[in-house]
């Protein structure tokens, strides 16, 4: 694992804070003084209780929301990826008039980059997502979990340098979820994108990540960043090893202590 120096990062967050105005005229603090440096090709999981500001954090990095204070800096880019940032949203947000395949091709269509290679990649993704028979179906013919998988595929088609994933597996059943996680790792291993992965499942966070960011309840602060020094490629069997159990326990304790502190 490379050690982080001051220049060796793709994203650097400096004292990010976020205050949302409320209808009653007050404010809600969603993020409080969040600082984090993410290295190139790193897989980071983010866990924390509901409402602690995980989505807010991704939105700020994506540029969809503007932080109240603090700074987001992006490191020097290698040009192997077409796009800087891509996001898998908490909801699938598919376009209902586009077939599954055309939803996957959203980003290439926007960039006028639909060629044979893109189509081949879309086919490959359909298989990986377990949707090979659904390429010509419309989103309203799909289950919630299937729609969410299309949303993931769409972001992967976009091929960003940094992939932000907001509870992408939230709508999936446990078995599909494990499989999707491992598939995601396989894809990630091909070109080692930088991934920020929000999840509510601690084992999932540990199984996928190099580091797990643990956040406190509102206002979201960084409780700790836990290193996951497990060998790659990861397998489902990893879950049963004592090292794995220890890390999960450590994160669970962090979350519990933060909970009882409030």
């Amino acid at each position: 694992m490379p050690t982080s120096t001051d220049t060796d990062f793709v994203i650097r967050l400096d004292s990010l804070s976020m205050l949302y105005p409320t209808k009653s005229g007050g404010t809600v603090q969603a993020l409080d003084d969040v600082s984090l440096s993410v290295r190139a090709g790193e897989f980071i999981s983010i866990v924390g209780p509901s409402g602690c500001g995980k989505s807010t954090l991704l939105r700020i990095i994506m540029g969809l929301s503007r932080q109240t204070s603090g700074q987001v800096t992006f490191g020097p880019s290698d040009d192997s990826h077409r796009n800087q940032l891509g996001m898998v949203f908490q909801q699938p947000l598919l376009l209902p008039w586009r077939t599954v395949r055309k939803n996957l091709l959203t980003s290439p269509d926007l960039h006028h980059a639909r060629d044979a290679a893109t189509h081949a990649k879309a086919d490959e993704l359909l298989v990986m997502l377990g949707l090979e028979e659904f390429g010509d179906r419309y989103p309203n013919e799909l289950s919630g979990g299937m729609q969410q998988r299309v949303g993931i595929g769409r972001a992967l088609m976009h091929d960003p340098r940094i992939l932000l994933m907001d509870e992408p597996f939230g709508a999936l059943d446990a078995m599909t979820r494990d499989q999707m996680g491992l598939d995601l790792l396989r894809i990630w291993d091909q070109d080692r994108k930088t991934v920020l992965f929000v999840t509510h499942s601690i084992p999932e966070a540990v199984l996928l990540a190099d580091r797990v960011v643990v956040m406190t309840p509102r206002p979201g602060r960084l409780a700790d960043v836990v290193e996951v020094a497990l060998p790659r490629p990861r397998r489902l069997e990893n879950i049963n090893t004592p090292e794995f159990g220890e890390i999960v326990l450590k994160i669970r304790k962090l979350l519990d202590s933060e909970h009882s502190a409030h």
Binding site: L64, M87, Q91, L93, P96, W97, T106, L110, G144
Partner: protein, 297 residues
């Protein structure tokens, strides 16, 4: 799961049959009642036809039995005769074509200008701030009241009729189109922008398709209003068209002919409405039926 389609989820059946120019606008029904209605639908239509035929027979019988003067109410058979005569000597057809032309041109102008205005209003804040209050204000004017003025300004030819039609059809189209262009969920816009879509691309890939169900709801209302508009404008002053024919036959106490013209007008209205509904179902294939957003105005 789809925030942007949620509002179209409730099934609504379009049973709106034009009836004296007013359009019943049905509120979206819950899916439960939609299911119940669908089950009853086929026998429902058969029943309607039977009841309709029954009423015709009753009408015929009452007129015959009580020897009602045919200057007041003609028998259905007399109306049918007049209808056949009218088409055979070409009167009904010639006048129908005139009115249809007025409707189609006026409706076309209304559609074009309403869509352009809606795009400008939803895309540019300043246009919205200047135009929207004015539009709301002018919307309160009963448009048919403008028909006499338009005749004064543009003569008794086709242009005054076309403009009356356009004026009447414009507002429901505009309001629905504005709602439509605004109907795309904010999250969807963010999703496209996150993939690097330009404002034009958001418009093309999201806002226009999301607007279609609403636009078609507006078209359904507007097409019926167009028929009314043309007839009213012809009443006010014209030398041809179905509205003129109604007045002329009324003048000569040929009530059977008046009824025949009303039948033709209804047929025109139903046919145009059906074309719009069909086109809507074909274009907006991803939702059950176009949603009514702003109803009859």
């Amino acid at each position: 799961m789809f925030t942007n389609t949620k509002r179209h989820a409730a099934g609504r059946e379009v049973l709106a049959v034009p009836e004296g120019g007013t359009v019943p606008v049905e509120a979206p029904t819950s899916s439960a009642t939609a299911v119940r209605r669908r089950r009853r639908r086929v026998p429902g239509i058969a029943h309607s036809v039977l009841v309709f035929l029954g009423l015709l027979v009753l009408w015929q019988a009452v007129v015959k039995m009580f020897d009602v003067s045919n200057i007041l109410v003609p028998t259905p058979t007399a109306v049918a005769d007049s209808l056949v005569d009218g088409f055979q000597d070409g009167t009904l057809l010639t006048h129908s074509i005139v009115t249809l032309k007025e409707i189609l041109i006026g409706f076309g102008i209304a559609v074009g200008s309403a869509l352009v205005s809606a795009v400008l209003i939803t895309q540019f804040r300043t246009v919205e701030r200047v135009l929207f209050p004015l539009l709301i204000l002018t919307q309160t004017i009963p448009k048919v009241a403008m028909a006499p003025l338009l005749i004064v300004w543009f003569g008794i030819g086709i242009s005054s009729k076309v403009l009356t039609v356009a004026l009447i059809a414009f507002f429901p189209l505009l309001i629905n189109a504005i709602l439509g262009f605004r109907s795309a969920a904010h999250e969807q816009v963010e999703m496209l922008r996150s993939f690097g879509a330009s404002r034009m691309q958001v418009m093309r890939h999201l806002q226009i398709p999301s607007a279609l169900p609403h636009i078609f709801a507006g078209l359904e209302v507007a097409v019926i209003l167009s028929v009314t508009g043309a007839v009213v404008a012809e009443f006010v002053g014209s030398s041809e068209g179905l509205g003129y024919l109604i007045q002329a036959s009324n003048f000569t106490l040929d009530v059977a002919r008046t009824f025949a013209v009303i039948v033709v007008l209804s047929a025109v209205g139903i046919a145009l409405h059906a074309v719009v509904v069909r086109l809507g179902k074909w274009l907006v294939f991803w939702t059950a039926t176009p949603t009514d957003t702003a109803g009859g105005i």
